[in-house]
């Protein structure tokens, strides 16, 4: 159990590293574009497209990691009034609902990605990027998130501690 939790969190952190890389690349691409446009009157011609892929990847790949750090916010009206078993039941219920929701999204993104591969869909820009790549990152991020929520669910069921402490509480 402890081992499973550690492995899942390691996967989430690895995915988050890709998010971080995406963020750095977005900043880099924009700066490069500005320099090209201002000093050389040219362009990479794909800025808004690539930065768009960057935001999507950055957001979805970080989902599991943000969940585990307690950054994904929730309304604590009910939770704050519960503890012990009652709280674990509600937490497990929330996790189960989120698992179901994420499964739906994984399934429909899988359909999109598979179709993009089969049809050979590309972007309409000069780069003609195969669309399964950026959408694949979204799918991958959703799968990592699913795993992390599942780990969260198991912790509620078996009442085991998380591998990291949520950090938001001590920031004020």
């Amino acid at each position: 159990m402890r081992r499973f939790q550690t492995i899942v969190f390691a996967i989430s952190r690895l995915a988050a590293a890709i998010s971080a890389l995406a963020l750095v690349l977005m900043v880099g691409h924009i700066l490069y574009e500005i320099i090209l446009r201002y000093f050389f009157a040219t362009s990479t011609f794909v800025l808004d497209e690539f930065v768009g892929y960057g935001v999507a990847a950055c957001t979805f790949m970080a989902l599991g990691y943000s969940l585990e750090h307690g950054n994904l916010i929730r309304v604590n009206l009910l939770l704050a009034r519960l503890d012990g078993v009652g709280r674990r039941v509600v937490e497990a219920g929330c996790a189960a609902l989120t698992l179901g929701l994420t499964s739906i999204f994984i399934w429909f993104f899988w359909i999109r990605v598979a179709r993009n591969v089969a049809r050979g869909t590309t972007s309409s820009s000069i780069a003609a990027v195969p669309m399964w790549i950026p959408e694949g990152f979204v799918l991958l991020g959703l799968c990592v998130f699913w795993l992390q929520v599942f780990a969260y669910f198991l912790r509620q069921v078996f009442d085991t501690p998380p591998p990291v402490e949520a950090e938001t509480a001590n920031e004020i």
Binding site: Y53, V55, F60, A62, L72, V75, L77, G93, V138, I172
Partner: protein, 436 residues
């Protein structure tokens, strides 16, 4: 009245899901899915296709990109000496204002609004810098968080502004004029906020800690030095926008690069700290972006329910006088703002409300400014209010409390709207001077 039946269902669903304590983004998605299922009887195949399509579309928009980058810039400022210096430098400046450093939120957001086009990025960046400091120094939390939530939304009113660009494209009015028209109303609202803070602090001196510091001549000389990094940062970002080197959307990247260079020059940045800022930015922006994406799916669901357009049509059928129309529209937009995010409000209602407003004699530029203020008010009303989400994520204070703290600032915006309705020139004067 028939139009209100789906609205009731959506409202109840939001309270059930969010009240249950599920993650906000998941709750919004579940509301969207359930209401399409319950009201329109759509099957899961169709709903899933819709949701995945819209989620990907919104997740990969260029306009969203400014958010993670501005949040990163805020992280860099927050985790280095720049934020300390900012407060050290501002302290003597606001020394004699009632409420002292409480004005940093309003001042900071007003300045930052000139750089950022979104409300979430403004609240997140300034909040990252100010919330901890103000709390540690013993300032009243309700005024600190309330003013931050309220002032964060100035990001939309003071140019550049994503919502104004959307309005300009849809209403076919000049974006440059719209931008110019937003400046004075933005400052007006900022003054209302500051005035309110002063009144509250005069009435209740305990809201701000005792001053304690006596600024010497040498201290005054230090102000410039302390404020230099943040002023240089602002100057470079604004300079990049107004010289045409960078577009407003690109300004965020210039901001990150400048903040990095500054902290390197100040010998503040280690690789470890760099990673800390980066991962902090990834986490916060993931939270903000995923909620925005979920809200886009919810907005699409509302579009399928024909909710905003039906209600807007019902208003059109009332044949009201100009001021009565404005009043009813304001109520309509405040209610829409409870559930929808900014751009969706504009896009879904405009085809009906703009012709109404123009027919009633309102200038389309003025109406754009009015609409942006309405959108701003929606940012701080629960259950779906982005500045509230951002601040909850940052401080851990429950959303209900933050909403309560923000309420006075909500009414101040309503007051601002009323002033603007009586004196439309506040919006229309500047564009006329600039563009004839």
């Amino acid at each position: 009245m028939e139009a209100l039946y789906p609205a009731g269902i959506v409202g109840i669903l939001i309270f059930i899901y969010l009240g249950l304590g599920i993650w906000v983004f998941a709750g919004l998605l579940l509301v969207a899915i359930s209401s399409l299922m319950l009201v329109l009887g759509m099957n899961i195949d169709r709903i899933g296709t819709i949701a995945a399509n819209i989620a990907y579309r919104y997740a990969s928009t260029w306009e969203l990109a400014a958010i993670p980058m501005f949040i990163w810039m805020g992280e860099i400022i927050f985790r280095t000496d720049i934020s300390n210096r900012l407060f050290r430098g501002l302290a003597p400046v606001v020394e004699h204002l009632p409420g002292r450093l409480l004005h940093t939120n309003v001042l900071g957001c007003t300045l930052f609004a000139a750089v950022s086009g979104s409300s979430a990025a403004t609240a997140a960046t300034v909040g990252k810098i100010t919330t901890t400091e103000l709390e540690q120094r013993g300032y009243d939390r309700s005024l600190a968080l309330g003013s931050l939530a309220g002032a964060g939304s100035l990001g939309l009113l003071i140019p550049p502004s994503i919502v104004m660009i959307v309005y300009g494209i849809l209403a076919e009015v000049s974006i440059s004029r719209l931008f110019a028209a937003g400046i004075l109303p933005g400052l007006l609202i900022a003054f209302l906020y500051s005035g309110y803070i002063m009144i509250r602090c005069l009435a209740n001196p305990g809201f701000a800690p005792p001053s304690g510091v006596r600024t010497t001549l040498r201290g005054y000389l230090h102000i410039g030095l302390d404020l230099a990094p943040i002023l240089i940062l602002m100057a470079i970002v604004l300079g990049a926008i107004y010289s045409g080197i960078a577009t407003p959307s690109e300004a965020a990247a210039v901001g990150v690069a400048t903040a990095l260079v500054l902290t390197i020059l100040m010998r503040q940045l280690s690789f470890g700290l760099f990673l800390e800022t980066l991962m902090g930015a990834v986490r916060t922006s993931c939270m903000v972006s995923i909620i925005l994406i979920a809200a886009a799916v919810l907005s699409t669901a509302m579009g399928y329910l024909h909710l905003p357009s039906n209600v807007a049509e019902a208003i059109a059928a009332l044949n009201l006088s100009p001021f009565a129309l404005l009043f009813v529209l304001s109520i309509f937009y405040i209610v829409l703002g409870l559930f929808l995010d900014g751009v969706s409000i504009v896009v879904m209602s405009l085809p009906i409300t703009l012709p109404l407003a123009v027919q009633a004699g309102f200038d389309p530029i003025w109406f754009g400014v009015y609409l942006v203020i309405m959108v701003e008010m929606g940012q701080i009303t629960p259950p779906v209010g982005f500045n509230l989400f951002v601040l909850q994520g940052m401080t851990g204070v429950p959303i209900g409390k933050i909403a309560w703290y923000s309420l006075p600032f909500f009414f101040l915006m309503a007051l601002g709207t009323a002033i603007l309705a009586v004196f439309p020139e506040i919006a229309l004067w500047l564009p006329r001077i600039l563009y004839g």
